[in-house]
């Protein structure tokens, strides 16, 4: 039977709206939702059906049948797997208390279910992957604007000038955002791109500033200096909504453009010209404050400086600027309901909220559970449930992580893919792929808010289950029967919509429920109450930071240069893979089966490396090394080498991905403790690696 279903893509966590046609439970066509994206979809989106058909993903529950990581598994039924998990959980609960269990997920619009599960179980320890992604940006925004990084959306389409600090947006591919950026460029807008290498995004820029790795903060400070000294800022906006401007002016006096240019390795004139352009372009100027800024030791302060640049432009709630996302309430609609269990009144195992008071308590910081595992302070951590989160692929030094996780009595992976962590865990519960599962209705905030829904296009082709069902069935066995009192997702959707006055039928026309026809905007002169800081103003000086013994305006410290013979490792993304998730996808693997090492042509010449040669990349103490081809280019800084994240996987059942390429996180030896005490992110770019020509390039080869 032929069907057409609107849904939400799940090949990466952008979650683009899609429409899927099926016949006899097979996908015959998949495209971006015509109503929102005009059909546009990326390579990954089109490779979704190949994921469903791929047999190299978990197809039934598996229980470990050998040592951890040995790769010996027993195929079991769902009830057997549930019993195994719940017996262990009950035992841990009675022996150590429910707080000994941690649940981590990727985050995103459906995390309330996972969070509720662990809260209902009795543990406050919900966490997510954001310590290796957006925490620094998030905390930077909170400290200045009083709202997190999702407290603004960017009206790029109508902007005159977009500035990106290492945000390689045409590789991370938020399709709607990319379309906006290209529309802006088509309309004569400017794009200033700052990075240590030229990327696909930088190709489209009108100004490219290649900086020395780790100097983003210096460049931002130099820009602020020039903007303030030439008075290229919105004085009225600052007067009305901002505190601490005088301190800022004093602070940046030392950071001249000449200084910044020298520190970053760019021309001073480029910074001055840039500020001249801003004068014409403001307030329609957007400094993107970064997405993944878990990079350098001062990334939190770099992100703060970028947020401050936006404040100086007075672009908040302006067309072509930063828009405060609107929700159902702004459209006169009541919001949806979600299951919600309040966090138990027990202090978190990662110290967030009592030891570290300047961090958002929501998901805490995943890497801080390791020291608790080791020291059993404040209490032992004995179980970790990873819901579509792969700690081994996200965080540095999986070998060291293994030692910590060995102290746990139960490790569970719930995922549609085999994850590196899953392979080491005790139980793998196979989640249905995004094309085979329903998820809860979610609110998609923005100038034109809407309700969105992922609806299954296919019945599961293997013995897999959607996450809501997995958690419901686990809860039933854990005497948490009230946790999810619905038998089907449809019942839950209906309950979610109850307060709103909408029904499921309202999704049918467009695949989402629009809450407003035109953008809802506040009066930019009436923004009082929008900044949730203690003073209600945008605070350049934050008391929360001072209370934590941290400066609000931190003196710049120059990044150290790599030791002789080493390079700073920079990792990033591509348009054809999603981190470690898609490396084994047959179609995407065909496009890019392994990563390569980008190296500057001068640095490569010194080492005798030619483009395409195999090179060996080794961690600082050389405990991990791998061999990949060199990509010798002009446009990468000489101190840096770059590689794509997600490769170097070691799961034998993923035959295409296993041992293909080099793993960046395995090169990050002993870097689990190298994190930003102010922003909370792990410093993923404070890593040096050894590079040398591979002996496998030999000109001669004998066969005997």
């Amino acid at each position: 039977m032929k069907k057409s279903v609107y849904s939400i893509c799940g090949m990466c966590t952008v979650r683009c709206p899609i429409r899927v046609e099926t016949e006899d439970n097979k996908v015959t066509w998949i495209e971006g939702n015509q109503n929102l994206l005009g059909g546009a979809l990326c390579a990954k989106g089109s490779a979704g059906p190949a994921l469903v058909a791929d047999k190299e993903r978990p197809q039934q529950p598996l229980i470990r049948d050998g040592a951890r990581g040995s790769g010996r598994w027993k195929e079991v039924s769902w009830p057997t797997a549930y019993d195994y998990i719940t017996d262990k959980l009950q035992k841990i609960k009675s022996e150590y208390g429910p707080e000994s269990v941690v649940l981590s997920s990727r985050g995103g619009p459906w995390q309330s279910m996972y969070k509720s599960f662990i809260h209902a179980f009795g543990s406050p320890n919900y966490t997510n992957h954001d310590n290796t992604c957006g925490r620094n940006t998030h905390h930077a925004s909170l400290s200045i604007n009083g709202v997190g990084r999702k407290g603004f959306v960017y009206d790029i389409k109508n902007a005159n000038h977009l500035i990106l600090f290492g945000r390689n947006m045409f590789s991370s591919l938020r399709i709607a955002e990319n379309l906006q950026t290209l529309d802006m460029l088509d309309n004569g807008g400017k794009l200033t791109y700052v990075d240590v290498r030229q990327t696909i995004t930088g190709l489209k820029s009108t100004r490219f500033l290649q900086v020395r790795p780790g100097t983003d903060y210096a460049l931002a400070l130099g820009m602020i200096h020039e903007i303030i000294s030439r008075e290229v800022y919105d004085a009225e906006f600052i007067e009305r909504y901002v505190s601490g401007f005088d301190e800022l002016r004093e602070f940046v006096k030392q950071y001249t453009t000449a200084w910044a240019a020298k520190e970053c390795g760019v021309r001073e004139k480029a910074i001055k010209n840039f500020v001249s352009e801003l004068k014409e372009d403001m307030p329609k100027v957007i400094f993107h404050p970064g997405w993944n800024l878990a990079r350098y030791k001062d990334s939190f302060y770099a992100s703060r400086a970028i947020h401050i640049l936006n404040v100086l432009m007075g672009s908040i709630e302006q067309k072509g600027g930063l828009i405060i996302p609107k929700g159902p309430g702004d459209c006169g609609v009541k919001g949806i309901q979600n299951i919600d269990y309040s966090k138990p009144d027990i202090k978190r195992g990662d110290g967030v909220g009592w030891k570290y008071n300047h961090f958002d308590k929501g998901p805490g910081l995943a890497h801080l559970f390791f020291s608790a595992m080791e020291s059993e302070d404040p209490y032992p951590i004995k179980a970790w449930i990873a819901m579509r989160h792969d700690p081994f692929c996200c965080m540095p030094d999986p070998r060291k992580q293994e030692k910590y996780f060995e102290k746990c009595d139960l490790l569970v992976s719930i995922d549609a893919h085999y994850s590196e962590f899953g392979w080491f865990s005790d139980v793998i519960l196979p989640e249905s792929t995004y094309l085979e599962r329903d998820n809860a209705i979610c609110v998609q905030k923005g100038p034109k808010p809407r309700f969105g829904r992922r609806q299954k296009a296919l019945e599961p082709v293997n013995d897999t289950k959607p996450s809501w069902q997995i958690f419901k069935e686990l809860a039933d066995r854990l005497d948490m029967k009230d946790f999810f009192p619905f038998d089907t997702m449809e019942d839950y959707w209906k309950w979610q919509l109850e307060p709103t006055g909408f029904t499921l039928k309202d999704f049918e026309e467009k695949g989402f429920i629009p809450l407003s026809d035109k953008p809802v905007m506040y009066d930019p002169k009436e923004l009082d109450g929008q900044f949730k800081t203690p003073s209600g103003k945008i605070e350049i000086i934050s008391k929360k930071l001072s209370d934590a013994g941290l400066p609000s305006l931190k003196e710049y410290e120059s990044p150290i240069r790599p030791p002789k013979g080493m390079f700073r490792l920079i990792v990033g993304r591509t348009a054809v893979h999603t981190h470690g998730h898609t490396i084994n996808n047959p179609l995407l693997n065909e496009l890019m089966p392994e990563n390569s090492l980008w190296i500057n042509v001068k640095a490569a010449n010194k080492l005798g490396i030619k483009d395409g040669d195999l090179v060996e990349v080794a961690s600082e103490s050389e405990s991990y090394a791998g061999t990949i081809p060199a990509h010798v280019v002009d446009y990468i800084h000489q101190e840096a080498v770059y590689m794509l994240h997600g490769f170097g996987r070691e799961i034998p059942l993923q035959t295409r991905a296993c041992h293909a390429g080099v793993s960046d996180q395995k090169l990050m030896e002993n870097k689990l403790d190298d994190w930003d005490k102010a922003g909370g992110g792990i410093n993923l770019a404070e890593v040096f690696v050894v590079v040398r020509p591979s002996i496998r390039n030999s000109a001669r080869r004998v066969e005997l």
């Binding site: 495209e31 089109s46 990319n178 190709l203 496009l591 002009d634």
Partner: protein, 150 residues
């Protein structure tokens, strides 16, 4: 004269290779054959910004295609609107078409053992739709152009 062509707006192309997978996914092709491709030129500095040009190539649907007369089973057909396609029923997989093509565009589908090539997704075109690569182009850089004689 050919009625259609696919045009790439290089200013909007981001070299994401989406078109290649849109094509393979729509035609249900296994690993191996690839009916369209995006090529990246080497970076060159243009007004102090390193730039790359992108090029799209599928099949040229030649006015006088060499692949058509060479086919021993008359499986390769040029339609009136110019689309050159391979009739999968008649194809015996001898690959004479690939040998005759100056660009070796026809490829062997290892699963069906038959020659395949870009046919502008003519089933979609006949249904009033556009080829898969154009419909789903990530940035709307590809256009399906209908040419009019003046």
């Amino acid at each position: 004269m050919n009625k259609y062509m696919i045009y790439l707006n290089g200013k909007r192309c981001i070299g994401c290779h989406g078109c290649e997978i849109h094509c393979k996914s729509n035609k249900n092709l296994p690993v191996g054959p690839q009916l369209c491709e995006i090529n990246h030129s080497v970076m060159v500095k243009v007004r102090s910004v390193p730039k790359t040009e992108f090029a799209f190539r599928s099949c040229y649907h030649c006015e006088e295609p060499f692949c058509v007369p060479v086919c021993p089973t008359s499986a390769v057909v040029k339609r009136e609107d110019g689309i050159v396609y391979i009739d999968q029923e008649k194809c015996i997989g001898c690959m004479a078409c690939a040998g005759a093509c100056p660009w070796t565009i026809p490829q062997l589908n290892p699963e069906t053992k038959k020659a395949i090539k870009c046919d502008y997704c003519m089933d979609r075109v006949d249904a009033g739709l556009k080829p898969a690569c154009v419909t789903k182009c990530t940035t709307h850089a590809l256009k399906f152009v209908e040419m009019v004689e003046k």
